[in-house]
Subunit: 233 residues, 2 copies
DNA sequence: CAAATAGTGTCTTTGAGACAATATATC
DNA sequence: GATATATTGTCTCAAAGACACTATTTG
């Protein structure tokens, strides 16, 4: 904030928080969309979002968490502020500002709920079978920017772990990296990377069932946030 | 944007754009601060900023450019949206949202102007002699986050060129990297990096005066935005 | 030519990737 | 044991850093 007096002489823009909620379903990235119940863009699919409640939300991130919880029931996801867009043309009602957050959650932790203002809530695969519909407002561009950011960060961080359930194997994790980056990676080099990042710990005694050698199960080490690698993948 | 009706039933938060304007003066990073003329925080130093003019600014970035131009006269800097902060406590007047931009400019291109709402405008060194004053609002934290982001990006991008004048030498550039990152770098490796990034072109025939071998002068190649290295510095 | 800094070349070490070998389950 | 995948080890190659050498200017 800065310059001025109490309230500016012109109307303040409307401020909303919009969520790009991503999860892994059947091995592919999915985004959570809502079908709008009211105009503008009624019936259109859009990113979940909502106004900031000055009396209820302590800060912007709290608003983002509230919206996420409303739609998915998920409480503590990986949450990251991605960008803020604002102009006079993106919403027919006038100058609006949207603060965009990306949330990564484990698909099995979500329990969808439409709630107010939404006719429907659904997961959509980012690629493949039912192509993504055109979205309301500038949400198509916002989503694209978000996914681009995710792909970029996956190159040099441990972000993908947040898309897996709490317990997972190294082959699971490698397959996920390969899915998101759309290229094969060397098993040996991948494991060396993960080992030196030192953010996983084996869950002793547990294995995974199959007709072959079972894989060690891991979980995030306590207090390990996202790790940045020294080098890119 | 998203959910709802025409206008929310609660007052919209005030929205401002705040600028972290950085330049290199006497070899050290400086930030441009204004001294506030009006309450709250009258007399305190703060980041330049201002309300978004819905009728005048096409979008948020245009507002940021307008503020920058007002204070420095600079037209086309490196400009990057850094973060958006918003809560009910950062401004005594109520819930506010601030969209923070970082601008990198060449010191020689700026012509400071106080303009409205500012008693004074001044460059402050980030480190050294006159220590930075405590800033109004949460601007101290915002500035710190910005500088952290800059240092981080300098590790893997060509960002620092925007702090130099249009024509500069490789030793100039290396010294700047070393200043910002606060460590010595190998001349040979540094030059290899810059060469393979392929974003500079030599200005033929020109050299630099001194009592030693003159350095080749370079400029940014046409159409070269910030380059991301494959590896970190 | 002495001083000072610009610019280049060489050697060593590190780390990533390719690929092979070994380990451990089920059937 | 046959099969399938997990996990580890080895070899090769390329890039980064350390460091030394050459180049070019002024006084």
């Amino acid at each position: 904030m800065t310059a001025g007096m109490a309230a500016p002489g012109f109307p303040a823009p409307i401020v909303t928080a919009d969520m790009v909620i991503l999860a892994l379903r059947d091995g592919t990235l999915n985004v959570l969309l809502i079908q709008r119940a009211a105009p503008p863009f009624a019936q259109n699919w859009a990113l979940p979002g909502g106004f900031i409640h000055a009396d209820e939300d302590a800060d912007i991130e709290a608003a983002a968490r509230r919206i996420l919880k409303d739609k998915t029931g998920v409480d503590s996801p990986y949450l990251e502020q991605v960008q803020t867009v604002g102009n006079g043309t993106r919403d027919p009602r006038g100058w609006t500002v949207s603060i965009v957050y990306m949330a990564l959650i484990a698909a099995d932790s979500a329990a969808l709920a439409s709630g107010a203002n939404a006719a429907d809530v659904k997961w959509w695969a980012l690629q493949g079978a039912p192509p993504l519909p055109g979205l309301a407002f500038d949400h198509t561009e916002i989503l694209a920017a978000c996914v681009k950011r995710l792909r970029n960060k996956v190159e040099y961080t441990t972000l993908p772990v947040h898309l897996l359930p709490a317990r997972f194997t190294l082959p699971d994790l490698q397959a996920l990296y390969e899915r998101i980056l759309d290229r094969k990676m060397d098993k040996s080099a991948f494991r060396k990377r993960m080992a030196e990042a030192n953010f996983l710990e084996p869950v002793m005694g547990e294995k995974r069932a199959a007709s072959n050698r079972p894989a060690q199960i891991y979980r995030l080490r306590d207090g390990c946030a996202t790790i940045f690698f020294d080098r890119t993948m």
